[in-house]
Structures are given as structure tokens and as C-alpha cells.
């Protein structure tokens, strides 16, 4: 027995067989809050009992540990006498339990600082083995095999809850949830509500020239860094115009490097779209190679030293994919206890700050409404046009047909306003501040004790799950015909939706939130140590993870194993350079990454950087990431004095500096499950780059994913590369079950509870039987009756 390997962490013992109580994931809250130190004192005191206890029963007392005599101090509990005098064996087990176990596991085994023992389904022998090898905390030698058997029999005979109900029909349904649109959904919904499908085009000038380009036949917003130079036709009319500036050595003609502009007769202007680096530039237009002109449409200018002015352009690309209008930006951040923005029950609360922002956005929207959205002219019949507008816009804004009363109310707003436009403006503001816009409806209809969501609610459930946005025309149509009420109707739509770029956006968001990787964008890194870790790099790394998720799930129709072990990733030039990939990469493409020691999503620098400190790695955070987000295993409260990150000592590796955890039994109890995982990833530094040395010392990546199927299973799974870690997880049933739970959390916007237990089991079994196919899992979720039914 290794004396140091003792503590089964407070909270979930995930049992291997049977219905694992989902309660494990509610975390290590301890009732009563007794500190670890006091419970240990109890154990030390009671060691004297062991000697007398084991001398009585059937087993021989060969293994009375020599330490027990020296450890006994106070009289401790009263059991020492009674046990030794030939009491009933179970009473001895009871006495042993009371003195050795109760202080951590509770007098009734319900759990305190130690987890509950009332639902042990891993079998008698296994419990004996666990107690023998590990219990009590810190001093497992105190309870030998005989003692372990007695305690086991007592626990199994006297402390077990009635058996958990098997999963029969009808299963409990999920609760009705009023889901507030989160910021991503809010932004996307407004985008889709206000923009008809991106306009078709053949050339840039068919779109909003200043901010959009024609990409594959559709107008799309220009990315940050792409600037459009526009010059109204000057007088006299030139034959050629170029942009000359600090970015192209002031070439006055195309031949000398100037950027040639294109003339658009329909608008009588010249333009060119060019990629401009994020800094400040000076430029002018040059007509016919000789006539230099300031860009008078640009208010930024400075003296050119020749009596004229150069125009000044400053490009700054901050944040993620810049949208010229981000209506969700000032809405408060959502609550994310486990990475995903939960939006129901305790979360998704509207405050006065929200209300003001909704008002403000409504006002902005009403001033930028595209003319095409009001499909008619107020003359000659304003009332009819108002009705038409409300009917089409309103039913899309509220994602369902309006009732007659609603239609009248909204139409009247328009017809009774001072002007038609003012009325439309007010009506739009009313619609966008409405709870029918802000929340996803799950009112449904109650039929025989079950709430059936109506077709439009199902359409929204689908569109927000897969697109984080409102339904499109096809979905509304499918709702109108009732097709969505049948499982096949839903899977057909879901398959279509997964093929749309919006689904990739959502899959990408899932990946970043699930693994905490979105913090690669904001996590502080010490500039002196990591000067190359610019915002451009951070954004590219986040984008890699987003695209990889879409690639595996949609392009490859791949599995969890693919996600964890793939030898490829999706990289652009920045990522390729960051990883040291050979060859030339220009735009995003799939590339093998095995040559740079990477495999699977856990090797993404986004994940590794987000789980590190500013100046050093954090094996603890990485280990916890795997435990919590990949295996859904939770830990109890760390003791006092935990949390100390050792100083970056140039003379020691990270592993060395965390040695305290393996030497101190109080730390080791939990850290035996955490550190071993994190150490295996030490080849990747605090920004996720590969290293073989830490300063001058070689990195030792011997890691171990112990007890992968649950605390108490006492298994060991050594690994020394991230590829091996991925493989261990890929073949783990716990990882499968946890992934299903993560997807469910993301889809339902809440943490799962007992009502979900049986459904999750069934889904997990299907997931396993289907080869862990993620796309299939999504389709199964959508097809399930739980997708369209609620508890009243």
C-alpha cells in the first residue's frame, strides 16, 4: 500500500456500473464545512481501535501496523472496549465505521468532506479493496483487510439507499425553460432578421462597396484589414488612378508599385480594395501618374511638407471577427459556471441594464432598416402597407404567426403615428423589446400531462441549437406544414442546417467554450517571455479550434475519437508558423500536425494557452480541464494554503516545483488525479508552443490518467504525449458519457439533473454503439421526444 495514495476526493465517486448519479457534477459542496485537518485528527485518535477490533473477528491480525500504537493519543471513541469483547461482527463494522469513516463520510454515510457511500454499486470486493488500499485518509495502514471487510459489510448492509429506479417509460421530461437569447444569439438573430439572405452579386460594386465585397456570388462584409479606397471621378477625367502611399513606397503608377484603381461607371467613381496592415499609413491618389490628390473624403490628414496634405489611414484590428455593428456588445456577460452560457432557471435574468440596451438597439435598428424590409409603399393605402409589413416582419421577429390582437396592436402603432416612417420605427422598437423576441418560447400545449411544444417553438429550438439564430424561411415553412413535429421532419432539417456555415459557427463556439479555449483571446501572457503572442496569433489559434470542430463533425462526420486523436488540424499561415509546420501555407487548410508532436483538440495551442498562467504552465489547470470537461469528474474543496503557484525557478522544472503535492498527503489526496495529467502536457509551454526543455532543463512528460472511469476504480493509464492522452480518453466510456452531457448542457442551456439521467444513459449508449459519431448524436438529440416535449 502506498501510504500517500489515500484520499478519494470529496464529491463524486463515479461508480462504474449502473446509473451513475448525475449529482456528482454538482460539485464538491460539503455540508457543514468541516475542514480537512479536523477530520484527520479524528482518524489519528481512532487508530487504537483498529488493533482491538481486528483481534476479535475471523481474520488474523497479521497486519496490525506498527504505527498504530504510536499514533494513539486520546481515548477517542468508546468502541475499543466493546469491539474486542466478542461483539456481533456487524457491530464491529459499525464501530469501525463510526471511528474511522464517519468524520469524513458522515454518520449515515451520506457524505461530508468525503463523498457519499450510500450508493455503492461496484460490488463488495471492490469496496474492500478500496478501503484496504486507500482508507482512511492519509493513514490507510490503519485499516487492514479484516477491518476493511468488516467496514464494507456494515456499509453495504446498513448504509445503502433503496436501489435507484431503473429507467422505464415514461421517463421524466425536461422542465419548461424560458430561454433568454444570449449575446451571440441576439446578434445573430438581428443579423438574420434585418438582412435578407446576402444579396447576390457579380462584382464588388453590386454590394455596399465601402464595406462589402462580392464573394462567391454573395455580398459579404470585408474583414478587418481590408480597406476600400474610393475616389469620386475627378476633373479633368483621368485615364488611370492609383493609390500611392507609405504602404507601397509611394509608387505613382501601377508599374512602380502604386495600387491601380478600377472605374465604376454606374457610380462614377474609382475604387480598389486592398489588405492594409494594422498600423497608420499615409497616402494620396495619383491620376495619370502625375496628378497627386488628397483623399478629401477622409478627414484624417497631415501636412505633406510641400504645401499639401497626405491622407492618413489608421487600421486597428481588435477583438474577434469584426462586425461593423455588434448589438450584443453592451449586454452583460452571461453566467457560465461550466463554460457554456446558461440561459434558464437561475441564469438569463433581465436587469435594467439589459432593458436599456434592448431599447437602444431597437432605436438603432429602426434607423437603419433597409428599405427592402418594408415591402410596400404607404401610398396610396398606408393601412394596407402597414398590415403587410407587420404580418411579414412581425411573424419573423416573434418567430411565429401573430395573433389577430397582436397584429392589430402593432398595425395601429403605425397608422396612428405622425408619419408612416415614425410609425414603422415605433412598431419595430416595440417588437424588439418584447419578451416574444427576447426569449425562446416553450409554452406549448398541454396534452395528457405532457407539454407539447408547438411547431414554431420547435423551429426555434432547432435554429438556436444549430445556428444560434432565428429560423430561416425553410424552417418556418416546415413549421407551418407541421413537418417538424415528426422526428424525421426534424432530422431532415437538422441535416440541412449542419451543412450551413452558421452551424460551423456554433460548433466552433461549442469547442471553445467546452474547453475554455476562448480565453486564449484574453488570457494575460508576459510580453517579455512571449513577445510573439500577438492578438493576430491569438485570434488565429481560436479560429483553428473553431474550424477543426466543424471539420471533424461536418466534413468528416467524425467521432469523439477523431476529435481527440486526429493527426490533422486546420491551420492558416499564422498557425502554421506558430507550430513550426513545414511548407508554405496561405489560407486555411487541413494539414497534418503529427510532425510537430500534436494530435487532437487537446494539442491545440488555444486550449493549452488558455489553461496556463501568464508566465508559466499550470499542470493543475490542465489536469482539471481533463477531469472536469472531458470526464465530468469533480473534486472537493482544496484545503487552506492550497493555490500557491511556486515561483518560476530557473533551476527546476514545473514538475519539480509541484513536488509538494506528491509529498504532502493532504495535497496528494486530490492531486494524484490532477497533476499526473497536467505533467503529461508539459511539452507545451504557457502559450502552447512545443518545447523539449524548460529553460535549460529537459522536460519530463511522464503522465498518468489514473482512475479514468471514476475515482475509486484504481486504474492507471500512463502516457507521455498528448496523442497518447487523446487515445486513452477516446477509448474511455466516461469520456463518452461526459461528452454527451456536455453537448446536452450546451443544447439545453442548463446543467443536467436527475430527470435527465435515464435519457442521457440511453443517448450515451447510442453514441457508443454508433461509433461516437458526433453528427449522429446531434441528430439523435433533435429526433428525441425530449426535444419537443416538456414537463408541465
Amino acid at each position: 500500500m502506498d501510504a500517500a495514495r489515500s484520499w478519494i476526493p470529496a464529491a463524486a465517486i463515479l461508480v462504474v456500473m449502473g446509473c451513475a448519479p448525475g449529482a456528482g457534477s454538482t460539485g464538491g459542496s460539503t455540508s457543514g464545512g468541516t475542514s480537512t485537518t479536523s477530520s484527520r485528527a479524528g482518524i489519528v485518535r481512532s487508530s487504537s481501535v483498529t488493533g482491538s477490533g481486528s483481534s476479535e473477528g475471523a481474520a488474523s491480525s497479521t497486519s496490525n501496523p506498527p504505527t498504530s500504537a504510536t499514533q494513539s493519543s486520546s481515548s477517542g471513541t468508546t468502541t475499543s472496549g466493546s469491539g474486542a469483547d466478542g461483539g456481533v461482527p456487524l457491530a464491529t463494522g459499525e464501530a469501525l465505521y463510526a471511528s474511522l469513516c464517519a468524520s469524513c463520510h458522515g454518520t449515515t454515510g451520506a457524505g461530508a468532506t468525503g463523498p457519499t457511500l450510500r450508493r455503492w454499486t461496484a460490488g463488495r470486493q471492490h469496496l474492500v479493496d478500496v478501503i484496504d488500499a486507500r482508507m482512511p485518509l492519509g493513514t490507510p495502514d490503519v485499516c487492514d483487510t479484516t477491518c476493511s471487510e468488516l467496514v464494507t459489510d456494515y456499509i453495504l448492509a446498513s448504509l445503502q439507499d433503496p436501489p435507484v429506479t431503473t429507467c422505464a417509460t415514461p421517463q421524466p421530461l425536461p422542465p419548461r425553460a424560458l430561454r433568454l437569447l444570449n449575446r451571440r444569439e441576439y446578434r445573430n438573430t438581428l443579423r438574420d432578421l434585418l438582412n435578407a439572405p446576402a444579396a447576390a452579386c457579380t462584382a464588388h460594386q453590386d454590394c455596399n462597396l465601402a464595406t462589402e465585397s462580392c464573394v462567391q456570388g454573395r455580398c459579404a462584409a470585408d474583414p478587418c484589414g481590408t480597406h476600400t479606397f474610393i475616389l469620386a471621378q475627378p476633373n479633368p477625367v483621368p485615364a488611370t488612378v492609383v493609390v500611392a502611399g507609405s504602404f507601397n513606397a509611394w509608387g505613382a503608377t501601377a508599374a512602380t508599385g502604386g495600387w491601380a484603381m478600377e472605374y465604376v461607371p454606374a457610380s462614377n467613381l474609382w475604387f480598389t480594395k486592398r489588405v492594409v496592415t494594422p498600423e497608420t499609413h499615409l497616402y494620396k491618389f495619383v491620376a495619370d501618374g502625375t496628378r497627386w490628390m488628397q483623399d478629401t473624403a477622409n478627414p484624417q490628414a497631415e501636412s505633406d511638407g510641400f504645401g499639401g496634405f497626405n491622407s492618413r489611414l489608421t487600421v486597428t484590428c481588435t477583438g474577434t471577427t469584426p462586425a461593423s455593428w455588434d448589438p450584443g456588445a453592451r449586454i452583460p456577460v452571461e453566467t457560465r459556471p461550466e463554460g457554456f452560457p446558461y440561459d434558464t432557471h437561475g441564469a438569463g435574468v433581465v436587469t435594467s441594464v439589459h432593458v436599456e440596451e434592448y431599447l437602444r438597439v431597437g432605436e438603432e435598428v429602426s434607423t437603419i432598416l433597409r428599405p427592402g424590409l418594408v415591402p410596400c409603399s404607404p401610398t396610396p393605402n398606408a393601412a394596407a402597407c402597414a398590415r403587410q409589413f407587420i404580418s411579414s416582419f412581425g411573424s419573423r421577429a416573434w418567430r411565429r404567426p401573430l395573433t389577430a390582437a397582436e397584429a392589430i396592436m402593432l398595425t395601429t402603432l403605425i397608422t396612428s403615428a405622425a408619419t408612416f416612417d415614425a410609425g414603422v420605427s415605433l412598431a419595430v422598437q416595440v417588437m424588439l423589446s418584447s419578451p416574444f423576441f427576447l426569449y425562446r418560447s416553450e409554452v406549448g400545449t398541454e396534452v395528457m400531462g405532457v407539454v407539447q411544444l408547438d411547431a414554431y417553438e420547435v423551429a426555434s429550438a432547432l435554429s438556436y441549437f444549430l445556428w444560434a439564430s432565428m429560423p430561416d424561411a425553410d424552417l418556418f415553412e416546415a413549421a407551418a406544414t407541421g413537418a417538424l413535429l415528426a422526428p424525421e421532419g426534424r432530422t431532415v432539417q437538422a441535416a440541412r442546417m449542419l451543412a450551413d456555415p452558421r452551424a460551423r459557427d456554433v460548433l466552433g463556439a461549442f469547442a471553445l467554450q467546452w474547453l475554455g479555449a476562448e480565453n486564449v483571446l484574453t488570457s494575460d501572457k508576459t510580453p517579455q517571455l512571449f513577445p510573439g503572442f500577438t492578438m493576430l496569433v491569438r485570434q488565429s489559434l481560436a479560429e483553428e479550434t473553431r474550424r477543426f470542430m466543424g471539420h471533424v463533425v461536418v466534413d468528416q462526420q467524425g467521432s469523439l475519437a477523431d476529435l481527440l486523436t486526429s493527426g490533422n488540424s486546420v491551420v492558416n499561415a499564422t498557425v502554421a508558423s506558430f507550430y513550426g509546420l513545414p511548407g508554405t501555407v496561405t489560407d486555411w487548410r487541413v494539414m497534418p500536425v503529427g510532425t510537430v508532436n500534436r494530435a487532437g483538440i487537446l494539442s491545440h495551442a488555444s486550449v493549452l494557452a488558455a489553461s496556463s498562467h501568464s508566465d508559466q504552465t499550470s499542470p493543475i489547470r490542465r489536469g482539471l480541464l481533463v477531469r472536469k470537461r472531458m470526464l465530468c469528474q469533480e473534486f472537493g474543496v482544496p484545503p487552506a494554503n492550497a493555490g500557491m503557484v511556486p515561483e518560476v525557478d530557473p533551476n527546476a522544472t514545473t514538475r519539480e516545483r509541484f513536488r509538494q503535492h506528491s509529498q504532502n498527503p493532504e495535497c496528494y489526496s486530490c492531486h494524484q488525479f490532477i497533476d499526473g495529467v497536467g505533467f503529461g502536457l508539459e511539452n507545451f509551454d504557457a502559450v502552447g508552443q512545443y518545447r523539449t526543455h524548460e529553460n535549460t532543463l529537459p522536460v519530463d512528460t511522464a503522465g498518468d490518467l489514473t482512475d479514468v472511469e471514476g475515482f475509486g476504480t484504481m486504474t492507471s493509464a500512463p502516457f507521455s504525449t498528448v496523442a497518447q492522452l487523446g487515445q486513452i480518453l477516446a477509448s474511455s466510456r466516461s469520456a463518452e458519457a461526459c461528452f454527451v452531457r456536455q453537448v446536452q448542457r450546451f443544447a439545453t442551456g442548463r446543467h443536467e439533473d436527475d430527470r435527465d439521467r435515464c435519457r442521457l444513459e440511453a443517448l450515451t449508449q447510442q453514441f457508443h454503439d454508433g461509433g461516437q459519431n458526433i453528427r449522429a448524436l446531434i441528430l439523435q438529440l433533435v429526433a428525441s421526444s425530449a426535444f419537443v416535449q416538456r414537463e408541465p
Binding site: A177, T351, L359, R360, Q429, S433, P435, T526
Partner: protein
Amino acid sequence: MTSFSRRTLLKAGALSLPLSTLLSLRRARAAGTAQRLIIFYFPDGVAALSQDGQPSPFHAQGSETSFTLSPQLAPLETFKQDCVFLNGISLGSTDSGSHPGGAKKLLTGVDGGHGESIDQHLARTVGAMSPHRLVYLGAMANQNNASGDKHISYTGPGQTVTPEDNPQSAFERLFGAPLTGGGMTSQNANRRSVLDSSIQQVLELQGRLGTVERGRLGLHLEALREVEQRVRNASMMTGTVCNGWMPSSSAVPVASLYDPARFPETLQLQMEILVQAMACGLTRVGVIQASLHTSELIMSRFPMTEMYDAGFDMRSHQASHYGPRHDETRREYWHYLRQRKWFMAQFASLLQMLKSRPEGDGTMLDNSLVLLCSEISDGNTHSHDNMPFVLAGRGSGAVRTGRLLQFGYERHGKLLASVVNAMGRPVAGWGDAGDGLLPGLLG
């Protein structure tokens, strides 16, 4: 340099002290009821009782009226007569212990945050007539998408709200653009129509839903009514007290909002904005949250401070785990002491902002209560005993200041209850501490 700009779209409320505030001010002084409350939170505790048993080097020492401040508290020396220093106050046990347990219980007084926090309670009651019921501002309090138990304001059991981290947004929301009448009135009229409509629809939706969701819609209703009242009263406001006010330094650009080097100025801006909002009668209840628990804030990047170190990152939480004893030769402890002193200096700066504004016969500070708090006492042991609470301001006579109150063991729920009472809400107790006010604090 980003200058603060006024958004022309949204107009704020009061521009001068509204009549209701003037009246309540007069009432308050007569009855000894504080005009306003500011809660100032800083993370990761202080150097207090060490793991090895060394006594707290944070807490003040001496007798009730003759006491000395520790080096950590030194920045409050000039405000000694304006403060009540509180020793021996405990949170009691907490569900998850340590930082999250403390943060959840800090303003709610209930384990696990299963209750309303005092700021929200006051916002709904004595604060409800103000244009803004509650102003909850943060400095890097949403770092890395933080949420949940990192935030200390609970609108209901288990429901936190999020502070505003961007001074520019806070400024716009509070001060907007001045009312000029005319066209602006029609915009306010529109707003009121929209809000009325939303209220009708929320009520209708509530009727169709179960209890839990009805509760959430109830909060939505509350929010709608607060904004509606604000808009309604805005059209009745005249005057120029808040017109044209600008903060003393420029806005922090969005891209730098989470740059630790900008933290000091961000915090300073937020405090200034809150104090000005209170001076203008825009709110009576404010919470300033500096960072969050287990803070990764790299305080060694603060320019022109003792802690500044170009070559080494020392984070707040990292420094808080300084080891089992007070050892200034240890880097963590050395930084920790200076970090805590720095937070005290920010608190002092807040008090100075209040003290420098005349109000009635004295200053704003005389009519305010300002509560300093953190979610733990000693950062290394995560203790919840002998917490670092300091209450400043005379609360219009509700509190006698210039004292050190030393308790053997008192639960902080009593302190919370006393603060709520001092603001004019006669509650018997607060949270799971049971009934009772903190002995000797009020009156």
C-alpha cells in the same frame, strides 16, 4: 486617447438633485438615515492570522477611541475619524469554503448565495425612487468571461448580476446626453410606449408559465418598471448639475480594458463615475467590484507603484498564498502586503472623492456609508473569521465614526443588517446569522 463621448441616443435621468432626493436628504438627517451606500470589494483578502498562528498584521489595535492602524491600513490614516474599524467579524461556515464560499455569502449573508444581497434589497426599497436603483461597476470584474460566484450582487437566490466593466459604457448609461426638450421628448414618449408594451407582454407571458419562469419574468418586469420610471421622470428634470460633467481622465479603450497596467486608472474612473452619479442623485446604492476572487490580476504591472516589476509577474491570488508565516523575505508575502495596502489606498481615494464634495452642512461622506469588504480574511488560510471589514461615513448620523470595535466573534449578517437599517430599512437581521444588529455600531 479616447475621450469620453456622450451618446446622443439615450438620455439619462436627473441632472440636478430631484425634489424627492432633497426631501429625503432632509428627512434622513433628522432621523439618522444614510443617504447612500457604496460597497467597495477587493479580492483575495488580507494578511491576517497566519497558518502558523501569528496574529493579524492587518487589523487595527487599541481601544475603541484610541487605536493605531497597521501598515496595510496606513492609507486610511487621514480618514481615521471617518471610519469604524471592525475586528472579529466572521462569515460563519460557507458551503464551498474558501473564495467562492465567501464571495457567495459576502453580501447575501446566506450560504451558497441562496438569498438576496443587501445592495439589491436596498435598490428595490429605499433606492427604488432613484433614476437608477443600483449602479454596479467593476474593474476587470468580468475578466476571461467570469460570471456566477465571481460576482457579489445577488438579485435573488442563486442569481447574480454582472457589473459593468467599461467606464465608457457606465458613463453613457448614467449621463447620456442632456435633455433639450423638443425632439427629445418624442423619443422619450416612444420609449414609454415601448416599455408599456413590453410590460403588457411580459404580464401576458407570465400568465402562461410555471413558477420558476414566472419568477424570472418578475425580475424582467421589475427592470422594465425601473427604466420606465427613469424615462418618465427624465422628462420632468431640468437643471445643469450633471450637465457637461466629464471624468478627469480619458476613457480606457475597449481593447485595453483587461490590460492589468490600466487597472488602476479603470478603477479610479469607475469610482469617480459612481460618486458623480450619486452627487447628481442618480442612485443611492452603488457597488464597486475591483477584480474578482482568486484573481489572476497581475498587480506587478501597475505602473508607478511599489509592486511594479517589469521582469516578474505577481498576481493577486498568487501573492495571497504566501505560505504558513508572515515572512517579508518571501516574495509572495512582500507583494501581498503592498497589494493590500494599494487596495486600501483606492478605498481612501473613494472616501476623498466623497469628502471633497460639500453637501448640506458637511460633505457627501457625512451622509454616506461606505463598506470595505473582501471574500476572505487571511488569503493563505482562506479563513472566514476576523474578516477585513471597514465601514466609513457617518450615514447622516446613523453611525458614530472614529472608532475601533472589537468583537470576539460576531457574524457578519449582523453587520449587513445594521447597514440596511442605517439606510432606512428596519430589518431585524440578515441572512442565516439570525436576528440581531451589530452591537454598538449604530446610533
